[in-house]
C-alpha cells in the first residue's frame, strides 16, 4: 500500500493508516455501557477525576466526597459527583457469505471491521467479532476482549475470514445474540441482500442493549449493473435462477428497488437509535473512513 520496507502489522491496511485509525474513536448515539470499568463515560456519576455535579448529602454517603468548602460557606453538606467511565461493548458482525465475494466487498468489509475494532480496543472497549460464513474449518467468532494487546488477535481473526456459504444475515444476527452479553454497539457490515426480514434481528439487537450500526457494502456492479438483453441470473449463494428479458429496460426499476432497500434499512436503524450507510466496495478505505464515516459522525478523529 505504501511501499514501506517496515513489516506491516496486518495485510488489511498499512501501518500509517493503522496509526491514523488508532487515534480515532467510535461515536455512538447512546451511552450504552457495561458496569465494568472502562474509558467510556457513562451517564451516571462515577469515581473518575472529572467533576460532574453536586447533590445533597444523604445519610450513608461517603464523607470523603463532601465538599467542605461549600459546607463552610453554606453550613449545609453537599456531595461532589465525578463522571463514571464504563466499558462499552463493540460487536463486529462481518457478512462473509458468498454474495460478499464479488469484487472487493469482503475485503472492504474486513478492513472496516478491523478499523472499527481497533478504534474500540484503543479506547479500552470490549470488542467481539463474528464472521458469517459456512466454512467449518475456519473460526467464525472472536470472543469479547479488551486492551490493546487484543488488536493482533482481532486482525488475525479478520484476516483468516474467507467467504462462502449462504447464511442469511438475519439468521446470523440471531445466532450471534445467543453468544453475546453486554451493551454497546453492534456494527453489521453486510450487503443486506437477503430475502428475509431484517427488522426482527434489528429489534433483538436493540432490546439486547446494542445500538445498531448498519454498513452496507455493495459492489460497483450492484450499484450500476451493466446488463442488456435476455439473461438468466444465477444466485451466487443458492444457485437459483431468474430469467430476465431485456434487462436494460429494467434498470430503472432495479435502481428504484435498490434505493428503496437502502431507505428501508436506514429507517430501521434510525428508529432504533442507530445508523446506516451504504458504501461502494470500489471506494478506498481512507475515503470511507475519513470522508464518509467521519462526516456522518460515526467516528471521531
Amino acid at each position: 500500500m505504501t511501499g514501506s520496507t517496515t513489516s506491516q502489522l496486518t495485510k488489511l491496511f498499512d501501518n500509517s493508516l493503522l496509526n491514523q485509525i488508532e487515534r480515532m474513536r467510535l461515536r455512538p448515539n447512546r451511552r450504552l455501557t457495561n458496569r465494568a470499568r472502562g474509558e467510556h463515560l457513562s451517564g451516571k456519576g462515577g469515581s473518575s477525576t472529572d467533576f460532574a455535579d453536586f447533590r445533597d448529602y444523604v445519610a450513608g454517603d461517603d464523607l470523603r466526597y463532601v465538599d467542605w468548602n461549600i459546607f463552610a460557606r453554606l453550613r449545609r453538606p453537599y456531595i461532589k459527583q465525578f463522571q463514571h467511565e464504563e466499558e462499552m461493548h463493540v460487536v463486529l458482525l462481518v457478512d462473509a457469505s458468498t454474495s460478499m465475494m464479488f469484487e472487493d466487498k469482503l475485503l472492504r468489509a474486513k478492513q472496516l471491521a478491523a478499523a472499527f475494532g481497533i478504534m474500540g480496543l484503543q479506547n479500552v472497549e470490549r470488542v467481539s467479532a463474528y464472521a458469517i460464513h459456512s466454512r467449518q474449518d475456519l473460526p467464525w467468532k472472536l470472543p469479547p476482549g479488551s486492551g490493546r494487546t487484543r488488536i493482533r488477535k482481532l486482525l488475525t481473526f479478520l484476516e483468516s475470514v474467507e467467504g462462502g456459504g449462504s447464511i442469511p444475515i438475519e439468521k446470523a444476527i440471531e445466532t450471534m445474540l445467543r453468544f453475546h452479553r453486554g451493551r454497546g454497539v453492534a456494527i453489521i457490515i453486510s450487503d443486506f441482500l437477503t430475502f428475509g426480514d431484517v427488522s426482527r434481528p434489528m429489534n433483538l439487537l436493540y432490546s439486547s442493549g446494542l445500538e445498531v450500526w448498519g454498513l452496507q457494502v455493495l459492489a460497483e456492479s450492484e450499484i450500476n449493473p451493466n446488463v442488456q438483453g435476455d439473461l438468466r441470473f444465477v444466485d451466487s449463494e443458492t444457485q437459483e435462477t431468474l430469467d430476465i428479458t431485456n434487462a436494460s429496460e429494467l434498470l430503472n426499476v432495479y435502481h428504484d428497488q435498490r434505493l428503496w432497500l437502502q431507505q428501508a434499512l436506514h429507517s430501521m436503524c434510525r428508529s432504533r437509535q442507530g445508523r446506516f450507510m451504504s458504501v461502494s466496495s470500489g471506494m478506498t478505505l481512507p475515503t470511507i473512513l475519513f470522508e464518509h464515516l467521519c462526516r456522518q459522525g460515526w467516528i471521531l478523529r
Binding site: 454474495s99 430475502f195 438483453g229 438468466r232 441470473f233 426499476v253 432495479y254 432497500l261
Partner: protein, 626 residues
C-alpha cells in the same frame, strides 16, 4: 364487409402447435447465464414488473411474440384463405368461352383480340382455383364444343384454354347451353359463366336449369366487312353480283371493294360506310361457265376483323332450264313454253326421254326413272296418302292457300272452281299429313288440294285434283303458277339466284353418288366425305372463310367458297341483355371476371418478413450480449 373464406379449414388444427411452441420457447430459451451476488433485488424488480404491467411480458418476450405471429401467419396461409368474388363459389363451374368471329376483333392500341382478353381473365381464374373447385371449359361459336371435363388440373385447363382459337363463325348460345345443361344430371352445377363479347343473338330459346353469369369483354376497334353477297341472272350468260358492305363504327369508313375472278381482279369500287348505312354494290359479270368469284375488301386504315373481308361465290354454268311436261298436260305445256331461258322437251311420249331434268310436270302417268329437283304432279294423290285422301266426283273450291309459299306467290285462287273433290278420310286431320312429311299449300272445303314435300335437294308438289278439271287454266293465276314452278326450278338449279355460302356447313354439293371425296379446306386440312346415293355431299363442316376444293382423287371436282356473311359479327355490337327463355341476363362489361382471390401468398410473404425481423432481432440481442 366480405369475410374471407378458407379452402382448407383443417389447417386450423395446426394452431395447436402454439402450445408446444410456447412451452419449448420457455424451456429451451438459450439465455446467457450471469452470476449475481444475490437475486433479492432482481426478484423484487421482476415482481414489481409483473404487478405493474402484466402485458409487458409479451413485450419483453418479443421473440416469442414474433414466433407466435409467424406460426399464425403460416397456419393461416395453410388454410388457403381467399377473398370471395361477387360470384358465389361454385364447386363445379362450367366456363363457356365465346370463340365466334367477333372475338378475333383486335384492339388497335394493344393489338390484343377480345379472345386474348378473355383468355387472360380465365387464366387468372384457373390459377386462382381453390382446392374443391372444378372447371370445365366449353368453347362455342355457332355450336358448342367441350374442351375439358370438370377438373382442377391447371395444366389441362390451361392447355385447353390455349387451344381455343377464334372461328370464322357467328355466335350462337343454344347448343353450348344444352351441352352444359346435360352435365347438370351428373354434377351439381349451380352457376355457369359465359365469357363473351356480347355479340350474340339477344333471344335464346332455352330453359335454364342453372344461374347464368355473363361476363362481357370489350375491346376491338373499328371494323368493316362484307355482310352479304349474292348473284342474280340477268341474261343467258350474264349475272348481277350484289355485295353489301357494313361497318361497326358511326364514322364513315373507307375501303376498296374488289371483285376477283380466279386470280385476277375484274372490278373495284371505292366505298364509304358507317354502321348506320351499309353500302350495296352491283357488279355485272359475264359468265359462260361455272366459276368462283371473290369479293375482296381492302379497308383504308385499321380494320379490327379480317375474316369478313373476303367472300366467295360460285356462279353456275349458264344453261337453259331443262323441263319435261307430260303430253297430256297441254295447259301446262302452253304456259311453260312461253317462258324464257328454258328447254322444254317436246316429245309426245308418256315418259321423258332423258334422265335428268330441272323440272318435271307430270300427271298420273308418272315420269319413269327421270330425276328432277322440282317435280309437279297434277291430279295425283301421293301413294303413301292414299289411305288419308280420296278423290270424289264433286265440286269443290279453294278455302285458303299459303300465299308465301314460293309456288303460290302472287297466285289468286279465290274463285277457282274444281270439278273433283279431294277429301280427307273420316277422322283424318292435316296433322297426320304433316307427320308423314307433307305440307298443305292449298286447302279445299273437304281436303287438301295441293301438297308439298321436300326430300333432300328435291321438292315435290302434288295437285290432288286435275287442273284440267278446274277453271284454273283459264285464270290469270295459272301462268303465274307455271312461272313460279319455273322460278323454283331455277332456284333449285341455282340458275336464277345464287347466294354466297356462309361459314358453318357447306351447302349440299352435287357429285356422283356413293363415292368418297376429299375436301381441302382453306387452312390446308383435308376432310374425307362420302356422297349419298342421290349424289350429294352434305354436312361438310366449314368453320373457316375461304375456298374449299372438292377432290376426287387428284382431280378437282368443284370449288366452293364461304364467307362470314354475318351482319351481327361485322357490327361487333354487344347485346346489352340476353333473353334466355323468359329470363333476362344482363351482360356487363364493367363487372369483369371476378375470381375468388386467394391471398395465402401474401400471408406467406408477411410470414417471411416476420422471420427476417425475428432473425434480425435475435442477432441484435446476441450481439448486445456478446
Amino acid at each position: 364487409m366480405r369475410w374471407p373464406g378458407f379452402v382448407n379449414l383443417f389447417g386450423a388444427w395446426f394452431l395447436l402447435a402454439l402450445i408446444p411452441l410456447i412451452i419449448l420457447y420457455f424451456l429451451k430459451l438459450k439465455r446467457p447465464r450471469m452470476e449475481v451476488p444475490s437475486l433479492a433485488l432482481w426478484q423484487s424488480v421482476v415482481n414489481d414488473q409483473r404487478v405493474n404491467s402484466p402485458f409487458q411480458k409479451f413485450r419483453r418476450n418479443l421473440l416469442l411474440l414474433l414466433q407466435i405471429i409467424l406460426l399464425c401467419l403460416v397456419v393461416l396461409a395453410l388454410m388457403q384463405p381467399f377473398l370471395r368474388a361477387d360470384a358465389e363459389v361454385a364447386v363445379y363451374k362450367p366456363l363457356l368461352i365465346d370463340c365466334s368471329a367477333s372475338m378475333s376483333s383486335l384492339d388497335e392500341s394493344t393489338g390484343k383480340s377480345r379472345l386474348d382478353l378473355v383468355k387472360e381473365r380465365v387464366r387468372e381464374q384457373i390459377n386462382n382455383l381453390t382446392g374443391d373447385q372444378r372447371i370445365a371449359i366449353f368453347s362455342f361459336a355457332n355450336t358448342g364444343r367441350r374442351l375439358t371435363e370438370f377438373t382442377n388440373d391447371r395444366r389441362v385447363l390451361l392447355k385447353a384454354l390455349e387451344s381455343i382459337q377464334p372461328l370464322d363463325l357467328p355466335g350462337q348460345l343454344d347448343d353450348v347451353l344444352r351441352m352444359a345443361a346435360a352435365y347438370t344430371r351428373t354434377f351439381p352445377i349451380e352457376t355457369i359463366q359465359i365469357l363473351t363479347d356480347g355479340n350474340l343473338p339477344e333471344q335464346v330459346d332455352f330453359e335454364l336449369p342453372f344461374k347464368v353469369e355473363v361476363q362481357r369483354v370489350d375491346g376491338g376497334g373499328p371494323n368493316i366487312g362484307i355482310t352479304e353477297m349474292s348473284a342474280r341472272r340477268s341474261g343467258p350468260e350474264d349475272w348481277e353480283v350484289f355485295v353489301r358492305v357494313s361497318a361497326s363504327s358511326i364514322d364513315l369508313r373507307g375501303a376498296e371493294l374488289q371483285l376477283w375472278e380466279g386470280d385476277k381482279p375484274t372490278d373495284s369500287h371505292q366505298i364509304e360506310v358507317s354502321n348506320e348505312e351499309s353500302e350495296r354494290l352491283v357488279y355485272p359479270v359475264h359468265s359462260t361457265h361455272s366459276q368462283l368469284i371473290e369479293a375482296r375488301l381492302v379497308p383504308a386504315g385499321f380494320d379490327s376483323m379480317a375474316v369478313d373481308n373476303n367472300v366467295w361465290l360460285t356462279l353456275p354454268a349458264a344453261r337453259p332450264l331443262k323441263v319435261w311436261v307430260a303430253p297430256k298436260l297441254a295447259s301446262w305445256r302452253h304456259a311453260v313454253r312461253v317462258l324464257p331461258n328454258l328447254e322444254l322437251e317436246e316429245s309426245e311420249g308418256d315418259e321423258p326421254t332423258g334422265t335428268e331434268y330441272d323440272l318435271i310436270i307430270a300427271d298420273e302417268g308418272g315420269f319413269g326413272s327421270a330425276e328432277a329437283p322440282v317435280r309437279v304432279l297434277v291430279g295425283v294423290v301421293p301413294s303413301d296418302l292414299q289411305d288419308l285422301i280420296t278423290v270424289e266426283e264433286d265440286v269443290t273450291y279453294v278455302v285458303d292457300w299459303n300465299r308465301t309459299a314460293p309456288m303460290l306467290r302472287h297466285v289468286q285462287l279465290s274463285d277457282v272452281q274444281i270439278g273433283e273433290q279431294p277429301k280427307l278420310a273420316a277422322g283424318a286431320a292435316t296433322k297426320e299429313l304433316e307427320e308423314r312429311g307433307y305440307e298443305v299449300l292449298i286447302d279445299g272445303n273437304a281436303g287438301p288440294l295441293m301438297l308439298q314435300r321436300r326430300e333432300g335437294l328435291t321438292v315435290s308438289y302434288w295437285f290432288t285434283f286435275h287442273t284440267d278439271r278446274s277453271t284454273l287454266p283459264y285464270r290469270v293465276a295459272f301462268p303465274i303458277l307455271a312461272a313460279n314452278a319455273i322460278e323454283s326450278a331455277l332456284k333449285q338449279a341455282s340458275l336464277a339466284d345464287v347466294a354466297a355460302a356462309p361459314t358453318g356447313v357447306l351447302p349440299p354439293i352435287a357429285v356422283d353418288g356413293s363415292r368418297t371425296y376429299t375436301i381441302r379446306t382453306p387452312n390446308g386440312e383435308s376432310l374425307t366425305a362420302e356422297s349419298t346415293t342421290e349424289g350429294t355431299l352434305e354436312g361438310i363442316p366449314a368453320s373457316r372463310v375461304g375456298r374449299y376444293d372438292v377432290m376426287d382423287g387428284g382431280n378437282l371436282v368443284t370449288s366452293i367458297g364461304t364467307g362470314l356473311l354475318s351482319g351481327t359479327e361485322t357490327s361487333l355490337q354487344a347485346a346489352g341483355e340476353l333473353r334466355i327463355s323468359e329470363l333476362t341476363v344482363a351482360t356487363d362489361e364493367a363487372r369483369q371476371l371476378d375470381a375468388d382471390r386467394p391471398f395465402w401468398w401474401l400471408l406467406a410473404l408477411i410470414a417471411f418478413g416476420v422471420l427476417i425481423l425475428e432473425w434480425w432481432y435475435f442477432q441484435r440481442a446476441r450481439g448486445a450480449m456478446s
